[in-house]
């Protein structure tokens, strides 16, 4: 078991509690795939400065090759979290943490635009039209 913890993951999973949030994000029609939505959640977690960690009970959903075919994401995680020896484990953790924070207690769909653009969209529209 200790060996498993020290070696990086070859698969990435989503906890059952976060699956519904992932499904809701895709259902909104704004993401082409669950992987795109999970990456969005990951960025949200990074933005919130979630500290390093691991997520238990995430299971297996994708091979890391499906999520990060060219290793760019791994490199970025290593850049943002210097010295990280298990970037894919951290990626899985951040995806799950991000999804957890996208959950709405009112059962509303996640506010993707609100996260993406912290300022008002209408202001953007007016700026662009002027």
């Amino acid at each position: 078991m200790v060996i498993e913890k020290t070696a990086d993951k070859r698969t990435i999973g989503i906890t059952s509690g976060n699956e519904s949030v992932l499904a809701a994000l895709v259902e909104e029609g704004l993401f082409a795939s669950e992987i795109d939505a999970a990456k969005f959640a990951l960025a949200h977690a990074i933005d919130l400065e979630i500290s390093r960690g691991t997520t238990e009970g995430a299971g297996t959903k994708w091979n890391v090759g499906s999520v990060d075919s060219d290793g760019t994401m791994k490199a970025i995680i290593q850049a943002l979290y210097p010295g990280e020896a298990q970037p894919y484990r951290l990626i899985e953790h951040l995806m799950n943490e991000g999804l957890g924070r996208l959950k709405s207690e009112e059962g509303l769909p996640p506010d993707v635009a609100g996260i993406l653009f912290k300022d008002n969209l209408e202001g953007v529209a007016q700026d662009s039209s002027s």
Binding site: L30, G71, A79
Partner: protein
């Protein structure tokens, strides 16, 4: 001469409870003063309702019976209204009572269709059977000519259509004018003589068939006569169908006007639904664009962090690269691989090489490898961050989103409007309106087909008449015996028919000239413009103002239109077979004080009995008394009791 004796209303519009007025027996003017919203137009409608069962609102739209029950009375549970009109005509006394009440089984009526208006007519105190009552009302005041007796400013405005042949209203008014002038009496006589002529021709054909010499011509003539009978029958039937279709068209238009508000709502709902559908298509396209742009969008959230990290990594790359280069140069110098210093380009002597070696730290191969690995790692991360930043365009994404959101807001707003409209639409209104629109379109198609059919039949009849005339001439040459008698009978009928046919034209022309002369005379008295010399009439009784230099005045104002229309109405009254009272609601429209004064002075000459509905500002009582003097017979006020309750009070 038709005269109004009294009018009684029961919960009719603003007139709550029973309210009655009697008109003086003498000739003259009765004025009703009422401010806006007191019920002047309702009073005009009370006459219309009593006589024809119709109530007309602004824009010539029919008013729902449901809305005509006095509101306060309706709140008290009243579900009906009634108007009674006492009249005298040709020495007989009439009492016409029309009641509007809910149809059987409609205890809680909600719309016009839930009501029925019944009437009965008493003559000399005896109630007439329904059919006779209908004929009697048609005789006393035909609805077709009611516009010359009951009118308002809006109706006067329609007379301008007489000048234009391409309007629907122009021909209708022309027919009504000929009706009031009595032309149908002559045209009916002409038609009767035409029937007599047809019968005489048939007898000629029969007589010709009875003679050996003329049998062949007689047979041919008989065939033509039979063909004419069939064609005339077809024509009669088609004209009747056309008349029915036109009447139905008027009824449909009436219904459509009544449902105009609902139709407008439906039209708006359909338009909004189409717009929502178009927006939905747009949104789908925009969503696809966003979906494509969202794949690398995750980096947009942390773009600042990525840029900061990139800057640190670039610094670290420089540090590592400098250290590696420095170590490489010193190592090279200490070993004497390079005889010249790369900085000062002087030869490095042996002593100097020894000193450099002494100063060089003990660098093992492992440390150098670590540095190179770190440098490679930093460069890999720099490349990754750069690659991600290149594919992330937050500004473009924001524009896509804001456009998408604007479309979504527009859809929500339009869907909200649609929901509001749906709440206002009553259960069956959509089906009824669509049914009416379908029926209207079908009516227009059928009318066009019938008109074509009638034109074709008329053409065949002309052809038939030509053949018959040629045959008659041949028969005349061979005439003798029984046929001579029939021929003389035919010639007499033909002469009489020709005479009446011509007399219709002559009489119509005389009427037009008389109307033109009378209307001109009234016009000159009514207008304050001295340069206007009179009016010129056209074939359809349209009147054009003539300047004193003889030229036409091509354009005229709404005020001038009013004066021309009043001149026409007055001229028609002068020349009408049927004379009666004039009830006029706010006839002054946009007229100035000078024109108003002249109209008031001339009014008593237009009819023996005039009922004028005005508000005091357009005709102050003092000015009315001064202008009318002894011809002003009584004055009434429409007194406000509440917004929904007006009472009639004699002044």
């Amino acid at each position: 001469m038709l005269r109004i004796k009294s009018l009684t209303m029961q919960d009719f519009g603003a007139f709550k409870g029973e309210q009655k007025f009697e008109l003086p027996k003498e000739e003259g003017v009765t004025v009703f003063y009422g401010e806006n919203m007191r019920g002047k137009t309702t009073l005009l409608n009370a006459f219309r309702f009593a006589l024809f069962g119709k109530i007309i609102g602004r824009g010539r739209r029919s008013v729902s019976f449901h809305d005509m029950i006095n509101w306060e009375a309706r709140a008290d549970g009243v579900r009906s209204f009634e108007v009674r009109l006492a009249l005298s005509h040709a020495g007989a006394e009439y009492r016409l009572t029309r009641t509007c009440k809910p149809k059987s089984g409609h205890d809680a009526p909600t719309g016009h269709e839930d009501y029925v208006a019944d009437y009965y007519l008493e003559r000399g105190g005896h109630i007439l059977p329904p059919q006779q009552a209908a004929l009697e009302i048609e005789r006393i005041l035909p609805e077709q000519i009611a516009r010359f007796f009951l009118f308002d400013g809006e109706l006067l405005q329609e007379y301008e259509d007489l000048l234009y042949s391409d309007t629907d209203m122009g021909p209708k008014i022309s027919q009504a004018i000929e009706r009031i002038l009595g032309l149908p009496t002559l045209t009916k006589s002409r038609d009767t003589l035409k029937a007599a002529l047809d019968r005489a021709e048939t007898r000629v054909a029969l007589a010709a068939q009875g003679d050996q010499k003329t049998r062949e011509y007689g047979n041919q003539l008989q065939n033509l006569v039979e063909e004419r009978t069939v064609l005339t029958g077809d024509l009669f039937r088609h004209e009747k169908d056309l008349e029915d279709l036109r009447a139905r068209k008027v009824a449909i238009e009436d219904d459509m006007r009544r449902k105009q508000r609902m139709a407008t709502l439906l039209e708006k709902r359909d338009r909004l639904t189409d717009e929502v559908s178009e927006l939905q298509t747009e949104i789908t396209k925009k969503q696809e664009a966003i979906t494509a742009a969202m794949s690398p969008a995750w980096a947009a959230i942390i773009v600042d962090k990525l840029k900061l990290t990139l800057a640190r990594h670039l610094e670290r790359e420089v540090e590592l690269q400098s250290a590696a280069t420095r170590a490489q140069v010193l190592h090279s110098l200490s070993k004497g691989h390079d005889p010249e210093c790369p900085t000062c380009l002087q030869t490095v002597l042996k002593d100097a090489q020894t000193k450099i070696r002494a100063h060089l730290p003990d660098v093992d191969a492992g440390t150098e490898d670590d540095r190179n690995r770190e440098l490679a790692g930093v460069r890999r991360q720099i490349d990754a961050i750069n690659a991600q930043l290149e594919t992330t365009n937050p500004q473009a994404l924001r524009l896509l989103w804001s456009d998408f959101e604007a479309h979504r807001r527009s859809i929500y707003s339009k869907r909200g409007e649609i929901e509001e409209i749906k709440k206002k639409l009553t259960g069956s209104s959509e089906g009824e309106i669509k049914g009416l629109q379908r029926e209207y379109e079908s009516n227009v198609r059928q009318t066009a087909a019938l008109e074509n059919g009638i034109a074709e039949t008329n053409g065949k009849l002309i052809e038939n008449a030509g053949y018959r005339e040629r045959l008659q001439k041949r028969l005349d040459k061979l005439a003798g015996g029984e046929m001579d008698v029939e021929r003389r009978r035919r010639d007499l009928a033909s002469t009489l028919h020709d005479m009446f046919n011509q007399s219709v034209g002559v009489y119509r022309e005389q009427l037009r000239r008389r109307i033109e002369a009378d209307a001109s005379s009234y016009f000159k008295r009514l207008t304050t413009e001295e340069d206007y010399a009179g009016l010129r009439i056209n074939d359809t009784y349209g009147l054009t103002i003539i300047h004193r230099d003889g030229s036409d005045i091509p354009m005229r104002s709404a005020g001038a239109e009013h004066v021309v229309a009043l001149s026409l109405v007055a001229a028609l009254q002068n020349n009408a077979q049927l004379r009666g009272p004039i009830v006029v609601d706010s006839p002054f429209g946009r007229l100035d004080g000078g024109h108003r004064a002249r109209i008031v002075e001339t009014l008593p000459e237009m009819a023996d009995q005039i009922i004028l509905l005005v508000y005091e500002e357009e005709l102050p009582p003092a000015r009315a008394r001064e202008a009318l003097k002894g011809r002003l017979k009584s004055e009434w006020t429409l007194e406000r009791k509440s917004a929904r309750h007006t009472e009639l009070a004699q002044r």
